[in-house]
Amino acid sequence: MKPFSYERATSPADAVTRAAAKPGARFIAGGTNLLDLMKLEISTPAHLVDVNGIGLDTIEKTADGGLRVGALVRNTDLASHAAVTKGYPLLSKAIVAGASGQLRNKATTAGNLMQRTRCPYFYDKNLPCNKRDPGTGCAAAGGYSRGHSVIGVSGNCVCAYPSDMTVALHALDATVEIMQLDRTTRTLPVRDFHLLPGDDLPVGEFALKPGELITAVVLPKPVGGKQLYHKVRDRASYAFALVSVAAIIQPDGTGHVAFGGVAPKPWRSDAADAALPRGAKAVTDTLFADATPTDQNQFKLTLATRTLGAVLIDAKAS
């Protein structure tokens, strides 16, 4: 691990100020992803600003009946909060489908949004990776790509985004609150928070400027309906999704659906939602029309349709 400096911030504004003072600074909260990457020298921040002591750890009702989740609310606390299990069971189910109990106790809401890819080439410094070392190329394209994205990719990067929580947030139309460098707050729909790789380098990942701090995730008023999260993986626990489906199905068959494991961000569209009453295949035909799978991950397209099909059966049965 490379030497780095470290300090604790006392408030959100203090954190932003401290980070701005040190080029290359990163915020650290739960550290469940960043510390692993630092040990492997895949992330090598010169300075860490610890934000665990800045508050932002509460869940509050908003004026319009929604929920404001502080950036530092731990995944376990969020998944088990009464307002979440009651109003947003989808979010609770998605969080519990990810990682392990120990990790969820430590991991935070904002940190979960900021998870880096689990692409094995990103993790092996001997291999080309534009995300790790811009300009070196993408070893995963043409390589072991079984777990990689089938859509939203570019020649620069084909990796998949790993979070379960964020797939639910997409289906729930959450927004992200961000403190800017001038300490004012801007908001961004979660749909726009993650960037697709595109043709430019370095590969974009998050719609955050250096030094900006996520302060909260805001959920709109509960929408009801059957809320289901089906995560498909090769073993029963503690693995990233091959495909996951977050679905909110209303009694009339309309709803929202988002897919994980298939793209560099959770994948959904209004047009695909509109196709929901016509069944799983109608949704995935719409959503994955532009897919560019490899031989190894072609199965994810079939699996996406089948998993949504299973979810729709469960929604009827439950």
Partner: protein, 732 residues
């Protein structure tokens, strides 16, 4: 003591301590963290520096140059080992790739350098500053494409009996199918780790190896030094599964680095490195042909095995179980080996049997279906009490049929739907599968020392190891039974290279061989005590902490009142018993799975293993071994595969995030039943091993259960949903 004839009645038959489910004697040490593993032996020597391995970034080629300038300048760096300053490096008898690359690189993540620094963090930071230029050569990394060029090895001759070709061609019922098993990683919880310290020309190693005798044979050869100048200590081992059989790269690199650094060096292979740096179970392609009569009797069985490795290295001999498993007059077993430039393949738990039975036992399920017979019935029809390859060679014990009967009853096999895909619960398809298990019950000459002190404490010393198996406990039980004392009065010391030489923890030989060694040493101790006390031969017993003779009861410790009595004996296993008897352990595995009708997700719901493995020295530790093996079998069936990037020639998923082993959520109810058995032809304690038996056949039982659930047959492991999802019945 020589072992040449079946064991007669002996003190072990009392079964007062042996055969009881005692807790592990070292259990409290382990659960309190007081049992130090190699990397944690902080106090064995002062001034331990930290070594960090730099792994090769190419699979095959040459090192053009190594730039160490920046790394040398980094904080805390003491020395850097490369092939330039390592001195000559030899080759051991077990691992063929060199522990240190240069100028040739033999496989990915082969060590190129070891950076030694004052702290782990400094070593790691400096290791990242080592710059290596390579000349990359093309290699062959894909067994399926190398298969055509695979050749016969002299060490693995073809085994042909009768006329397979004709018998198969004319058989009324024929199965001809190809199965594949992938490269697998041992993934022991404890990574390979060694502390090495030089004392002049003497070398001390605190390390983690399964068989000290092999490590002591191989490491001095690698280091080109005399064996008697080396000492190794390996009392606690956090799993091995064959990945630590002999001395691996960690020991050689720590020793070489300690020499260039001029101080003791502590070194562990990181998880991300060890997969490609050390060894793995090689992939296989297996063609199985079975010709049968309508009554299910096998007329012809052919098993062809293709595998690959570095030149001269280990061969994964999947055909090992085939000659012994089922009857049938016409038989063929062949192995062909391709040269691959992947990391070195080697032994992993039940080499031969584990991958072989993954294929054979699906084939038997397929045969049952072709015959319209129950899969258990097909196995029973082909059961035999003599070696199928030699009718004059009876099995010493063979209770395969008993295992199948008991398992069938206990598991509720009668509830299995004969027709695949017939049982459904909601969106889940339910199925049951069965497989036989067989694993050689071999032994190897082993020795032990026994000490008796004035307090009546018996201490056993042998270089046998305990890799989590329960060796400490069963050897303590053996000694206690022999000497008529309780477990509290026995101390077992293992894993020092200057102790009497044993087989080590290899090939399911440990329990039978090492307990036999303790039997021999304690027999000698009993004799020595009787002589010293001038007791009449033939009227001496050891009961309840006393020596009983001619109506006298002498406290055991009294015999050592004048000084500790120390004896040593070696149990030499002659060729007589294996020559006279086919010696195998048998079992049957039963599995129930649920398969999601839409997504193909597989969940194992119940598992049962029934084992007939001679005397079970400790049902609790034996059960733990079998349960661990069953768990490994679930991984082999459903998820474990080292993924090869054939462009770069390495295993891509080289950590526990990418190489998915079965975790708690994958393992439901597991049950183990041991059939009553003693086998006096194996060893004086009449035991066989179980640690590998518990794995053999499990994956096939899972595969067969999946077929029973879905009607979809998958012949390529691991059985993951992308291989069969589109063949599942249509979802309404």
């Amino acid at each position: 003591m020589k072992f040449q004839t079946p064991a007669g009645k002996n003190p072990i038959d009392r079964m007062k301590v042996v055969g009881k489910p005692h807790d592990r004697v070292e259990g409290p040490l382990k659960v309190t963290g007081a049992a130090p593993y190699a990397y944690e032996r902080h106090s064995v020597i002062a001034n331990q520096a930290y070594g960090e391995v730099v792994g090769a970034a190419i699979a095959k080629g040459r090192i053009i140059s190594i730039d160490l300038a920046e790394a040398r300048r980094a904080a805390g760096v003491i020395a850097i080992l490369t092939a330039e300053n390592a001195g000559g490096i030899g080759r051991g008898d077990f691992i063929f790739a060199s522990p240190l690359a240069g100028p040739l690189v033999e496989h990915y993540h082969q060590a190129v350098a070891v950076v030694v620094a004052e702290s782990l963090e400094q070593a790691r930071a400096a290791a990242a500053l080592v710059r290596v230029d390579y000349d990359r050569a093309d290699g062959v990394y894909d067994l399926s494409s190398a298969k055509a060029g695979a050749t016969k090895r002299a060490s693995v001759p073809d085994a042909a009996i009768g006329d397979f070709a004709t018998a198969f061609a004319t058989a009324p019922v024929k199965l001809d199918a190809v199965y594949t098993t992938p490269d697998q990683s041992h993934m022991a919880m404890e990574p390979h780790a060694t502390i090495a310290a030089w004392d002049g020309d003497r070398l001390n190693l605190w390390t983690s190896v399964q068989a000290l005798d092999w490590a002591m044979r191989d490491l001095p050869k690698i280091l080109k030094m005399p064996r008697d100048k080396v000492h190794m200590s390996s009392p606690y081992i956090g799993g091995g599964f064959g990945g630590k059989i002999s001395s691996m790269s960690d020991a050689a690199l720590a020793a070489l680095a300690a020499r260039v650094a001029g101080c003791p060096v502590k070194l562990a292979l990181t998880r991300t490195l060890l997969v490609n740096n050390t060894v793995h179970r090689p992939a296989t392609i297996q063609r199985v042909r079975i010709g049968a009569a309508r009554d299910g009797k096998i007329l012809a069985i052919g098993h062809e095995n293709w595998t690959g490795n570095l030149p001269d290295a280990f061969v994964e001999q999947s055909t090992v179980p085939t000659p012994s498993l089922y009857a049938g007059a016409n038989r063929l077993a062949t192995t062909r080996v391709a040269v691959l430039d992947l990391p070195e393949g080697s032994s992993m738990r039940a080499p031969g049997e584990a991958p072989g039975m993954m294929a054979i036992e699906i084939a038997m399920d397929e045969l049952a279906e072709l015959l319209g017979m129950d899969p258990i019935q097909v196995r029973l029809v082909n059961d035999t009490q003599v070696d199928p390859s030699d009718p004059n060679h009876p099995f010493s014990t063979r209770q395969l049929a008993e295992c199948l009967h008991v398992g069938s009853e206990r598991f509720g096999w009668s509830k299995r739907a004969a027709k695949p895909g017939a049982r459904r619960e909601g969106q889940w398809l339910i199925g049951m599968g069965v497989a036989s298990a067989i694993r050689g019950a071999r032994t190897r000459t082993s020795a032990a020392r026994a000490r008796l002190d004035a307090k009546g404490i018996v201490t056993i010393e042998t270089d046998m190891t305990d890799i989590g198996t329960g060796a400490y406990t069963i050897l303590a039980q053996t000694a206690a039974e022999m000497m008529g004392i309780g477990l509290d009065d026995v101390v077992v010391k293992l894993g020092e290279s200057d102790y009497p030489v044993s087989v080590g923890s290899i090939g399911q030989r440990g329990a039978a061989s090492a307990s036999g060694a303790v039997f021999a040493a304690c027999t000698k101790l009993r004799q020595t005590i009787a002589q010293q006390l001038s007791l009449p031969e033939g009227d001496v017993d050891f009961v309840d902490g006393h020596i009983v003779s001619g109506g006298r009861r002498i406290p055991l410790g009294k015999a050592a009142a004048a000084g500790e009595i120390v004896v040593e004996d070696v149990l030499e296993f002659g060729p007589e018993m294996p020559k006279k008897y086919a010696q195998q352990a048998f079992g049957a595995h039963f599995v129930e799975v649920a398969v999601h009708a839409s997504t193909g997700e597989i969940r194992v719901r119940r598992m049962l293993a029934v084992c007939a493995a001679g005397r079970i020295l400790n049902p609790k530790t034996a059960r733990s071994q079998v349960i661990g093996a069953m768990t490994m079998g679930v991984g082999a069936a459903l998820s474990e595969e080292l993924a090869i990037d054939t462009r770069f020639g390495y295993f891509v998923n080289h950590d526990l995030a990418g190489y998915e082993v079965a975790v708690h959520a994958d393992i439901p109810h597991q049950e183990v039943i041991f059939i009553d058995e003693v086998d006096p032809t194996i060893t004086p304690t009449k035991a066989k091993g179980v640690g590998e038996l518990g794995l053999v056949g499990v994956a096939a039982a899972v595969a067969n259960a999946i077929y029973n659930a879905t009607g979809v047959r998958v012949r390529d492991y691991p059985i993951r949903l992308d291989k069969f999802m589109d063949r599942l019945p249509a979802v309404a």
